[in-house]
């Protein structure tokens, strides 16, 4: 079988077995793996080197091969060591073996064993599975954590807020003006902590929850967000100009509503004291199927140094007295856009206004 010599040059262990269970070929790789030289094994009965191949579970399937049947696979799970061999480190080589019928000129069928060393591959896939299990466990834990935060952290807050209000209502006269001021501060503090907890929960839920991606009509979503914000602010939304005929985008509707709500509520919040607020929502098609949505305001703007940080959790540029907030809004925008496989950014000149943008793939109507 001279033609098989080419198999000395592939990184696969190869040998050939005749129907009489004699070895007729043994490649260099196998010499290397086992230390058995070709000359010592070729022409010999296989019982010497690989006695197990005579056993029932192999012999039966090999007979099918010798009769010209279909190739057989001995997977690494069940047949780890067709050719017992150790690696240099001493660990056994895990093997994935394919056996194919090989017909010579006289029509005699031999069995061609091709053996892949899958030790590394198996190790790596086991590591990957372990890692995936760990990530899964961390996720479950995070879920439990968020759950417990939403339950257990808010209960004492209700108590603080509720009884301060009750005290103010029932005994407000008696405790005097300073007392009422102190109570007011406790109430403000509890409400502030409540919005922090709520925003943090929203943030963590958005990063964990599975979302479905569909075609979303930008037109309707923008209208919905503006209307809801307007009623939430009792009409004090200022002048919001929205472009009509906005395209469809590939997104999750609720996530997109959340992202746009946060951007628009910022645009209305960070107003310039000397100007009538002016907000514009527009969209433009970009290269390769991307749609960019602009949310522009003529508010106080953001200095270039800060334009990156503001997307992190809790990063704010103002005190709560000046502009109330939790500092989580833009972090939610960033995570939301990550979940939608989109992008987000800002262009701004301090004192003049800000132009936030998000980019999504264009969808089909």
């Amino acid at each position: 079988m001279r033609s098989l010599d080419v198999l000395d040059h592939v990184p696969v262990g190869v040998f050939v077995l005749t129907p009489e269970f004699k070895v007729s070929f043994w490649n260099k790789v196998l010499e290397d793996w086992t230390g058995i030289e070709r000359g010592d094994v070729v022409g010999q009965d296989v019982t010497g080197a690989l006695p197990h191949l005579r056993e029932g579970r192999y012999a039966g399937r090999l007979r099918t091969i010798f009769e010209g049947g279909p190739p057989a696979v001995f997977s690494a799970q069940l047949h780890k060591h067709i050719v017992p061999a150790r690696r240099r480190s001493g660990e056994p080589r895990l093997q994935h073996t394919t056996v194919t019928p090989l017909r010579d000129e006289d029509g005699r069928v031999s069995a061609l064993f091709a053996i892949q060393d899958v030790t590394e591959l198996t190790k790596r896939s086991r590591q990957y599975r372990e890692l995936a299990a760990k990530v899964q466990a961390v996720n479950v834990e995070l879920e439990g954590f968020a759950y417990s935060v939403s339950h257990d952290l808010r209960a004492p807050l209700r108590t603080m807020e509720g009884f301060s209000v009750a005290l103010l209502e029932d005994y407000g006269e008696a405790i005097g003006e300073q007392g009422r001021d102190y109570l007011g501060r406790i109430i403000d503090g509890s409400r502030r902590l409540d919005s922090l907890i709520r925003d943090l929960l929203l943030y963590s839920r958005l990063s964990r929850q599975e979302i479905s991606i569909t075609n979303v009509p930008l037109d309707a979503v923008v209208r919905e967000v503006v209307d809801r914000l307007r009623s939430y602010l009792n009409g004090e939304l200022g002048n919001v100009e929205t472009q009509t005929g906005l395209p469809h985008v590939v997104a999750n509707r609720l996530t997109l509503v959340q992202v746009l709500t946060n951007l628009l509520s910022n645009a209305t919040k960070f107003m310039h004291p000397d100007r009538e607020p002016q907000i514009r929502v527009t969209a433009e098609r970009r290269d390769e199927g991307w749609v960019r949505v602009w949310i522009e305001d003529n508010g106080i703007g953001i200095a270039a140094d800060h334009q990156e940080r503001i997307f992190k959790v809790f990063e704010r540029l103002h005190g709560d007295d000046e502009f109330p907030g939790t500092g989580i809004g833009l972090a939610i925008v960033r995570v939301g856009m990550e979940r939608l496989d989109g992008r987000v950014g800002v262009e701004s000149v301090e004192g003049e206004g800000s132009r936030f943008w998000i980019e999504l793939r264009e969808g089909t109507p």
Binding site: G162, A166, D194
Partner: protein, 162 residues
Amino acid sequence: MKQRSAVTVLVVEDDANDVLLLKRAFRKAGTEPFPVIHVVNDGESAVRYLGGVGEFGDRRSHPLPDLVLLDLKLPRMSGHEVLAWRSEQLPLIRIPVIVMSSSQEASDIARAYDCGANSYLVKPVELEVLVEIIGALQGYWLRFNETAAVTEPRTFGTRLAT
């Protein structure tokens, strides 16, 4: 509109502070009818109260409620478990149950409805908002909503036979 004299609400809540605030909200809301409020502190007691067993055996002192306000996170037997139990109690299932929980997790909400809850409310931190919620709840569930008569399980069986 209802023709009942005394309207009863069963509150299933383990947090004594929440119970106090809830009662205050009922008072403050000032909506008619003002209910008689019975409180139990865990899921097991809720089941015993509704089933009329043990210390709750006397229906004169522990009448079947017109409405149940159910917390989810309860000692011994959770609100979800109470709902699951109720879903198999034929006449009792007619008593509307409103879940009042701190949780806004989608899975909690979905599970509550799957187990047969009639409504789901999130406990607000602001007392003012709680008063508003209770006012709306009184108007809808205790005033306008038509409830089916709930006969005791035993008598219900006899009536079916005739």
